[in-house]
């Protein structure tokens, strides 16, 4: 049974079937034609009680009185066939009120009898109302569905009724991804930290050998061994550096579908924060564990060392300078000076104890090398400096040195001895030579005094204040080559640097 049929059954009147006798009469009143054919066949259906029927019952006696006349009129006016005799008569009267009036004036319809008569209910209206209600319900269902699935507004319902929500599912998955990615990042960063430790550890050894190699006061064999060691260490450092770069420069974030995040670049920051937070939790967890287990020294130290590892690893998370260095450095192409600088740079930007050590090491001055430079420069002026020929041949003899790291100032005092009276030339040569060195600057002496005789030799005291050029100490390329003799000594001074022959002369004479 269709929906329309159901509605039809519910209605108080018949649709598409022959009317009841009352209905027929109502139709007559309305001037509607009588049913015929199939419609007539259905006339046997028992009539339904309705208002129209009741009203027609009221007017029936009047109709019976005029029935004979009506029948005659109906016969006399075949042109009005579609209408009931009563209506036809009325029409006839209207058309020719004077000429064709055979009978008395037709009875007037008591329209007041139609008061309170309602027209039949419109099925279409019911259908439309029903359809509208259905659409509204459908709309509410749709709204509730989407609201429960794509927003959190109905979470209290979906959670209490255990209704699955795609947004909840997505949120759970996003949270799981965040956890997994953070765990992955932790393992990567812990490994990265260890590789950086390797770089620092081997780097420390490399720097030590670098110092040996470039310190002219150290024997040649030791320096050669240091160079060989540097080559081996470089391989290890390059490997550790590449592995650290691989672990630490990978993307830390994943782009998630999350309505609260508008810019995808925020994910990198979000995952960085998660990583920092997790490492911090682990560090503080281990730190408190260490404090609790302080009674057991071994366990405490292991736990404490783990806490320090997590804490130091956390410092790496936002170290963009380090990431840029790891990403942009072609470590294999670096020469030994650049390599040394790279190790120092890594130690300075990675926060650990080695960083502090590195800072101290960088600030200190290798005085042995400075002293060696002074002796070397002096030997350009006095060929037999510190070889024991001072008394016999003259030359330069220092009596005291004062080195001050905080000011970078060196005070040198000494004596020059010459048998040819050129003490002042020797001193000024020394001043010029010291100033020409990349190690020193601001060397001067404005007062010259000399005493002695040709037999005993002329002596002149010297007191020099020398300022260190700290930048030059960092650059091994500026180191003086011991075999080179400064040009100005040969061309300009006229003072012999070769001196007289020392053969047969006792050093201590």
């Amino acid at each position: 049974m269709s929906f329309l049929e159901k509605i039809r059954e519910k209605l108080p009147f018949e649709i598409g079937k022959s009317e009841t006798s009352e209905g027929k009469e109502a139709n007559l009143l309305l001037g509607k034609p009588e049913p015929f054919g199939d419609e007539k066949l259905s006339a046997n259906v028992p009539p339904k009680k309705n208002l129209i029927g009741a009203l027609l019952d009221k007017i029936r006696p009047k109709r019976e009185k005029t029935s004979a006349l009506d029948a005659a009129d109906a016969l006399a006016a075949p042109g009005e066939e579609g209408y009931s005799p009563l209506i036809a008569s009325a029409l006839k009267t209207e058309k020719s009120p004077t000429d064709e009036r055979i009978l008395d004036a037709p009875p007037e319809i008591d329209e007041s009898l139609l008061e309170g008569v309602e027209p039949p209910k419109s099925i279409l209206l019911y259908v439309m109302k029903g359809a509208f209600a259905f659409i509204v319900v459908l709309g509410i269902v749709a709204i509730l569905f989407f609201m429960s699935q794509t927003t959190h507004r109905l979470d209290f319902v979906t959670n209490s009724l255990n209704i699955p929500s795609v947004l909840d599912e997505l949120d759970k998955e996003n949270a799981e991804i965040k956890d997994l990615q953070t765990e992955l990042n932790i393992y990567r960063f812990l490994q990265g930290k260890f590789y950086l430790n390797q770089v620092s550890y081997y780097g420390d050894e490399y720097l030590r050998n670098y110092y040996i190699k470039w310190n002219s006061t150290i024997p040649e064999e030791e320096r050669k061994a240091a160079l060989a060691e540097m080559t081996k260490l470089k391989e290890k450092i390059v490997k550790a550096f590449d592995l650290a770069a691989e672990k630490l420069t990978k993307k830390k974030g994943i782009v998630l579908i999350d309505l609260s995040i508008e810019d995808d670049s925020q994910y990198e920051v979000i995952f960085e924060n998660l990583l920092s937070q997790k490492l911090e939790e682990k560090a503080s967890g281990l730190a408190s564990e260490s404090a609790n287990e302080a009674a057991s020294e071994d366990v405490g130290s292991t736990v404490d060392s783990g806490g320090k590892l997590y804490s130091q690893t956390r410092q790496l998370v936002s170290n963009t300078e380090l990431f840029a260095l790891l990403q942009n450095t072609n470590i294999k192409a670096l020469d030994e000076h650049e390599f040394k600088d790279l190790i120092k740079q890594i130690n300075s930007i990675v926060e650990n104890e080695l960083g502090s050590i590195q800072k101290i090491k960088e600030a200190r001055i290798n005085w042995s090398d400075i002293m060696n430079q002074i002796e070397l420069v002096t030997s350009y002026v006095d060929q037999y400096f510190s070889e024991g020929y001072y008394e016999a041949l003259g030359g330069i003899q220092y009596t005291s040195y004062d080195f001050d790291t905080s000011t970078g100032e060196i005070t040198i005092t000494g004596v020059t001895k010459r048998y040819d009276t050129t003490n002042f030339t020797m001193i000024t040569n020394l001043i010029d030579q010291l100033n020409a060195s990349s190690y020193f600057t601001g060397v001067e002496m404005k007062s010259f005094t000399k005493s002695g005789s040709a037999d005993e030799g002329y002596t002149s005291t010297l007191s020099l204040k020398v300022q260190l050029q700290k930048e030059a100490l960092e650059d091994p390329d500026d180191k003086i080559v011991p075999d080179a003799i400064p040009e100005f000594l040969e061309k300009e001074t006229g003072v012999s640097v070769s001196g007289i022959s020392v053969s047969g002369i006792n050093k201590n004479e």
Partner: protein, 205 residues
């Protein structure tokens, strides 16, 4: 009058039909549009859920792989960390540890001093502890007076200059000043008297 009411009701019904038809069309349109856009959103969510499942699987396998790589090398890493920590205890200790430092000087002296190659520390004087400007470390200043041959003097300077190496495990130190004087007699015998001011560093914990 009644006829008019009757007709009015019919008209009202017709108007009602029109009204509900319009409402239905309007609501169908609105709900259709709402459903369409929300369905797109819902589909995206469903798609994201499906994508996330793949991502989760991928991440799980990556995490397992990274974890096992970490676990495999953990022993090496721990050994290295322990080695560094052990070296740091000597090179850059947590406290001033001046007793250990004094023993280290004594050890150097006994290793260096020879009959024909003198190295004798005649005085060590520790001063007040200082903290670096940035608070990263502390230092223990000390002054030493030493008589030494020139060769051992250079060795001593190198000993201080190489200090702080994790390999040598010598306490991190730095020469602040040196005062050397040569007496003619000493100079001839190759002995240098010098006093040196040194900073010995330790952690600021």
């Amino acid at each position: 009058m009644a006829k008019v009411n009757y007709q009015e009701i019919i008209d009202k019904q017709k108007r009602g039909i029109t009204f509900y038809t319009v409402l239905c069309v309007l609501f169908v349109g609105l709900i259709g549009a709402y459903t369409y856009f929300n369905w797109v959103d819902y589909s995206l969510h469903k798609e994201a859920v499906a994508q996330n499942e793949t991502v989760i699987q991928d991440l799980k396998s990556q995490t397992v792989s990274e974890k096992s790589e970490y676990q495999n090398q953990k022993k090496l890493f721990d050994d290295l960390s322990d080695g560094i920590d052990a070296s740091l205890k000597e090179v850059f200790p947590a406290g001033d540890d001046y007793t250990e430092l004094t023993r280290a000087f004594d050890h150097f002296e006994s290793e260096t001093d020879r009959n024909n190659n003198k190295f004798v520390i005649s005085n060590i004087e520790y001063q007040d502890i200082q903290v670096s400007e940035d608070g990263a470390y502390k230092c223990l200043p000390l002054r030493m007076t030493i008589s030494s041959s020139e060769e051992n003097f250079t060795k001593f300077l190198q000993y201080i200059e190489k200090s702080g190496s994790l390999l040598d495990k010598v306490r991190l130190m730095d020469i602040q000043s040196i005062h050397m004087s040569f007496d003619e007699s000493e100079n001839s015998s190759g002995v240098i008297n010098f006093s040196v001011k040194i900073n010995a560093y330790f952690q600021n914990i």
